[in-house]
Assembly symmetry: C2
Homo-oligomer: 152 residues x 2
């Protein structure tokens, strides 16, 4: 497999963020305690990753406690990994989430709106990496401190 350029990897990563056919592996931890990992459906509004999950879920509680998550988009031989900070959490029917809710329902294959136990979690990417195999480990950093490193 040929090694992709930075701009090509960035374009491929954005395509994965916009994909409508998969979930993302969401890894979180409490302030002090074991890592949690679940697959969740997602949407990307161009600047923020949007998750929907029950407010009572361990994932949401961990993100509330630490403000952080690490996300893995597969398959595992064509990955995008995102380190993100929380940019907002609110009930799915909160008026501030109207635009987010439309973006989520458009991209994901379900619509949590109307389920009051669910919240939308907005995540602000800080670092993004992408690689397919060992030959691509060099040059895997695509976003650093919130800035894309390549123009696409």
């Amino acid at each position: 497999m040929s090694v992709r350029s930075g701009p090509q990897r960035t374009a491929d990563a954005i395509a994965k963020l916009r994909a409508t056919d998969g979930d993302v592996w969401v890894s979180t931890a409490p302030t002090a305690g074991p890592a949690h990992l679940v697959p969740l459906s997602y949407a990307w509004n161009g600047e923020r990753l949007i998750l929907a999950a029950p407010a009572s879920s361990l994932t949401v509680r961990n993100i509330q406690a630490t403000g952080r998550a690490r996300l893995g988009f597969g398959p595992t031989r064509d990955v995008v990994i995102m380190d993100a900070e929380v940019g907002g959490i609110a009930g799915v029917d909160d008026p501030t989430m109207a635009e987010v809710g439309r973006a989520f329902a458009d991209q994901a294959d379900w619509d949590p709106r109307g389920s009051p136990e669910y919240v939308f979690v907005l995540l602000r990417p800080r670092h993004i990496q992408a690689w397919r195999d060992a030959s691509e480990l060099s040059g895997r950093l695509l976003m650093h401190d919130g800035r894309w490193l390549f123009e696409v």
Copy 2:
């Protein structure tokens, strides 16, 4: 999609543990700090999951510190999730790892033996869940406290 029985899910989960064509998402955390997540190749010897990673990697250091990992086998619409405890860590060329090394090299698509910076990590599964979609969330527990719940 039809809802699989417990024995069927167990057989499918074991097949995924024995698969030769993918990696596993490995989620770990330090004693107090953010979750880490990387894809790693793996093998299953019937009782233990075997990972290989550099001794200096964050994944190995987190497992050494806490004794725990949570693992996600994809794709995300056909998952197996394992909570595991460490059952041993040693250099890939340590004599105690000879059998583990053969199992890993047979199943994974690379052989870390001869790379002294790498260790094998043996993980003992404690809980295993499997589901494909929301209809399978009920009945997803296949192993509890180290015991398979269904005969296959």
